[in-house]
């Protein structure tokens, strides 16, 4: 199989890679770079478990070929905790019991992180739209919505200071 040179910045670290031409970003992250926090649930872009932030947008990494995103910046769930400090979203997911089995959690966090980066003051409806493509079978979504609403408030009050 033909190999392609690709440079990716993942969680602020630069990687020079030789990838297969049919290699999905999901495989590069999970298998090559060992970011196994990125989950695979359906492989067709329906469940959102593989969501990562690619150049500031939330994407299903199962639907992206790695060679297509040469030079891009990727943020995975492993990159949310900075210098031993959890992201306000992670804190809120803990405080609001927004996690059960935890398999959808990385995708949920990345979809909502992308939302808050773009829109720090989302309505509940806007949060719903942001995670419409993230399936969760455990929580009925309610505590996830509460967590994201709260995290948005915390982030904003943090900025005000």
């Amino acid at each position: 199989m033909e190999k392609v040179d690709v440079t990716l910045t993942v969680n602020n670290k630069k990687y020079d890679l030789k990838v297969d031409s049919d290699e999905r970003l999901l495989d590069t992250l999970r298998e090559r770079l060992k970011f196994t926090g990125v989950k695979e649930g359906c492989s067709i872009g329906e469940c959102g478990a593989c969501t990562v932030i690619l150049d500031k947008k939330a994407v299903n990494s199962c639907m992206v070929y790695t060679f297509q995103v040469d030079g891009s910046e990727v943020l995975t769930v492993e990159g949310l905790e900075m210098n031993g400090k959890l992201d306000p979203l992670q804190e809120a997911f803990i405080d609001f019991q927004a996690v059960q089995c935890g398999f959808c959690t990385p995708g949920m966090l990345m979809s909502t992180k992308a939302l808050l980066m773009d829109n720090p003051t989302p309505t509940r409806e806007e949060i719903k739209t942001a995670i419409e493509g993230n399936l969760c079978r455990c929580t009925g979504y309610q505590q996830i919505l509460d967590a994201v609403e709260s995290a948005a408030k915390v982030s904003r009050s943090g900025e005000d200071v």
């Binding site: 989950k39 329906e46 478990a49 905790e81 803990i94 996690v99 399936l135 969760c136 079978r137």
Partner: protein
């Protein structure tokens, strides 16, 4: 009663690794020299396997082994009836049966090699409808059996003919429900490692029931149980679904691991998962009910037929729970119930959250609303005239006198909170416009734990370390529901330490106490009682030590705030100091807690007995808006009141309610695994739709607490009760809105508009 940890919404003990991506699930693990296995599935739902030629596949690059049924030491396993094939031998019995498996160095090589396996099939005429497979002379699914019946559970109480004779109104109705996919977001994954840690094989992965899987692997390999190690820690949901299908994967991977002497990784794609894994049983149900003009039920006659698919799997137990719950939480003098399971060549059916109750609750709670309408009586009034109270006697003859029968309480709280009475009146009047609103509710009683299915016992080991921290070894597993947290909270409460000082160890079947399966909403109740016993035994050892060393009376010694207190509540030393001192003196501070549930009974011939030692009660109310032009149903609000005995972690209980309501909503209005002559038509989430955040209404959870004398801190069950009511409540709400009754799930668009299912040529 004041608690330090229990009854508080403490943080989950496993949450940090889950929000940071550090939690390792089955597919995330790797081992040196690991091979990847890929299964070849049958081409036909029912076919004779004439020949299999693996020679080409064996020569493909990277391939290290190819196995067929011939290579499996013992090809049949099962928890109740051992007839599930690890790989199809003479015949493939359903479309998910595996025929051969390849192990290769990369997943791609394995996939390629699978395509090179040549199989000659002789397609056979299968049977795909349980109502046909029950007929005399039907094609047999299993050649060695006389007919296709898996099980028949009868129940007889009083005289139904007499009861119907004395009735003013008699209704006869038929209801049906579809195949449902558990839809855990993590597809099944296992890794079998040969000859590790004194085991013949160690299996890591998404295993719901490590001991059931250990049994299956031991049976298949013909190996001693003490050589089969199943390790389970994080799992991406299960809902009953990662039992036999994962046992089968574990057995397959183990055979390959021993053959190649290398670790074997096997991960299902979603399509493979839906094709291969068992589903919730579809039911066809005939209900006949007789009542007086004043609403008192005189008799109920029920026949329920479940599709077991190709294998027995859990059908005997699933249908048994249906028997107990079929008449609902109502006092009925005369009952005749017959519940059957039949083999077909459909995908096999097994455990899914609810386990035989959501089907009969949909039927019986629809029927109650239909009866209310027939009697021109308010649905609440009709139920109030018939529901169980303290000391009521159930259909099987059990007197409910061991706990608070709180049906009236949950019903009253849920209808009040949802403003049901006012809304029901309003929506029952003629509504203008195409969008009609409706409100409906459903109630249930549910036996906690396994009941008379099996011996019901569990064990816990607690080990106090010399630094005052505690290791907890459990045989019941964390599936995502929060069991680790609940056990740690209980142990911390008893030992007077912080919850984070207790560490729930990963399950290892060679170390953890065999406690049966994490099913039947039994973990908090049964395993929780084992935590209590282990903690009490540990406390006893600590008190004995302190009493002797410090001349204290045992009864004066208390453990709290991480310290040990003696007479007049004077602090003697911290638990840490004590543990360190005791360790140096050679005092052993590890204890076992073993709990066996109170006696229960069941007579298979008559359906009489005390099937469960306690019950939980619930009521859910649904409010809907139905677009009568498009058929679209919008569930606007749901209220869910559940008596849990005591909420060990209220936030977790609410999480169970939200999740259960969501699954019940899917069951009600959208979910169905469509099959056609044994082929599965919806094999991924683009066709099999489960509720997204936008499908979910606001949910009002009401936690009712009547502590149970047999529960740890009074706690009972919550996982399954939350799911069994939603579809019935929504169906009643839709009938209230449209003035039309739909008797089959899901309540799809065309059923609303034209009254029948267009894809199936119309229903009755």
């Amino acid at each position: 009663m004041e608690f330090a940890h229990v009854n508080k919404s403490e943080k989950r003990v496993d949450v940090y690794e889950k929000v940071t991506g550090k939690a390792k699930y089955g597919a995330d693990m790797k081992f040196p020299d690991m091979l990847y296995a890929e299964v070849l599935h049958t081409e036909y739902p029912y076919a004779k396997i004439v020949s299999i030629d693996t020679s080409k596949a064996e020569k493909m690059p990277g391939v290290e082994a190819v196995i067929t049924a011939e290579d499996i030491p013992n090809n049949e396993f099962g928890v109740i009836i051992e007839n599930q094939q690890v790989l199809a031998k003479k015949k493939a019995l359903y479309i998910g049966d595996g025929v051969a498996i390849v192990a290769a160095r990369t997943p791609k090589q394995a996939k390629k090699a699978v395509e090179a396996i040549e199989v000659e099939y002789e397609e056979l005429k299968g049977v795909f409808d349980p109502l046909k497979s029950r007929e005399a002379g039907s094609q047999l699914v299993h050649d060695d059996l006389e007919n296709n019946e898996v099980i028949h559970h009868p129940l007889r109480k009083g005289d139904v003919n007499e009861g119907f004779k004395n009735s003013d109104v008699i209704l006869e109705r038929e209801y049906s429900t579809p195949f449902i996919e558990q839809s855990y977001i993590e597809p099944e994954a296992v890794i079998a490692v040969p000859y590790q840690e004194n085991s013949t094989v160690t299996v890591y992965g998404s295993v719901q029931n490590p001991f059931a899987t250990q049994n299956a692997v031991a049976t298949v390999l013909k190996e001693d149980l003490n050589k089969i190690r199943i390790v389970q820690n994080h799992m991406g949901g299960s809902f009953g679904g990662k039992d036999e299908v994962v046992s089968s994967m574990a057995a397959r991977a183990s055979v390959l691991a021993l053959k190649t002497e290398k670790p074997i990784k096997m991960v299902n794609t979603r399509d493979q998962s839906i094709r291969e894994s068992y589903k919730r049983h579809p039911y066809n149900m005939k209900y006949k009910i007789g009542a007086n003009k004043d609403g008192k039920i005189q008799a109920m006659e029920i026949e329920a037929v479940a599709d077991s698919g190709a294998y027995a799997c859990q059908t005997p137990f699933v249908t048994w729970r249906s028997v107990v719950q079929a008449t609902g939480p109502y006092e009925v003098e005369n009952v005749k119930t017959d519940t059957y399971g039949y083999y077909t060549n459909n995908v096999y059916t097994g455990a899914m959250r609810g386990y035989g109750s959501p089907q009969v609750i949909f039927a019986q709670e629809s029927l109650m609303d239909e009866l209310a309408e027939e009697l021109d009586m308010d649905p609440i009034e009709l139920r109030m005239k018939n529901i169980y109270h303290n000391d009521s006697v159930t259909a099987s003859g059990q007197k409910l006198d061991s706990h608070e029968v709180s049906l009236e309480e949950v019903l009253t709280k849920a209808v009040e909170k949802s403003n049901y009475v006012e809304k029901y009146k309003k929506y029952s009047k003629e509504q203008t416009g195409s969008k009609k609103r409706g409100i409906g509710f459903a109630i249930s009683f549910r036996g906690c734990s396994l009941g008379a299915e099996a011996i019901d016992a569990a064990g816990i080991i607690l080990s106090l370390k010399k630094d005052g921290s505690v290791s907890l070894y459990s045989g019941l597993a964390e599936n995502g529901q929060g069991l680790k947290t609940v056990y740690c909270q209980m142990a911390a409460e008893k030992l007077g330490i912080e919850t984070n000082k207790v560490n729930f160890m990963q399950i290892d079947t060679l170390i953890s106490p065999d406690s049966g399966s994490t099913v039947a909403s039994r973990a908090t109740l049964i395993g929780g009682n084992a935590v209590m016993k282990a903690a009490e035994n540990l406390i006893d050892k600590i008190k004995e030590y302190i009493a002797e060393k410090f001349e204290q009376k045992k009864e004066d010694i208390k453990l709290k705030n991480g310290s040990i207190y003696g007479k007049k509540d004077v602090e003697i030393m911290t638990l840490k100091e004590m543990a360190s001192k005791a360790a140096m003196e050679g005092i052993y501070l590890t204890t076992y807690g073993w709990y066996v549930s109170p006696d229960i009974s069941w007579d298979e011939e008559t359906g009489h007995g005390n099937p469960y030692f306690t019950y939980v009660y619930g009521c859910q109310v649904a409010e809907v808006e139905v677009d009568t032009y498009t058929g679209e149903i919008d569930v606007i609000n749901m209220t869910a009141a559940h008596d849990v005995g005591r909420a060990i972690n209220p936030a977790n209980v609410k999480g169970q309610i939200f999740g259960g309501v969501s699954m019940g909503l899917g069951y009600g209005i959208m979910e169905e695994v469509e099959t056609d002559q044994g082929y599965i038509k919806s094999t991924n989430f683009d066709e099999y739709l489960i509720p997204t955040v936008k499908d979910m209404p606001d949910i009002d959870p009401i936690i009712v607490e009547n502590p149970d004398p047999n529960g740890p801190f009074g706690a009972k069950s919550i996982g399954e009760p939350t799911l069994e009511l939603g579809a019935a409540a929504i169906s009643n709400a839709v009938a209230n809105a449209t003035k039309k009754r739909i008797r089959s799930l899901p309540l799809k668009l065309e059923k609303i508009i034209v009254g029948k299912d267009l894809t199936k040529g119309g229903e009755k």
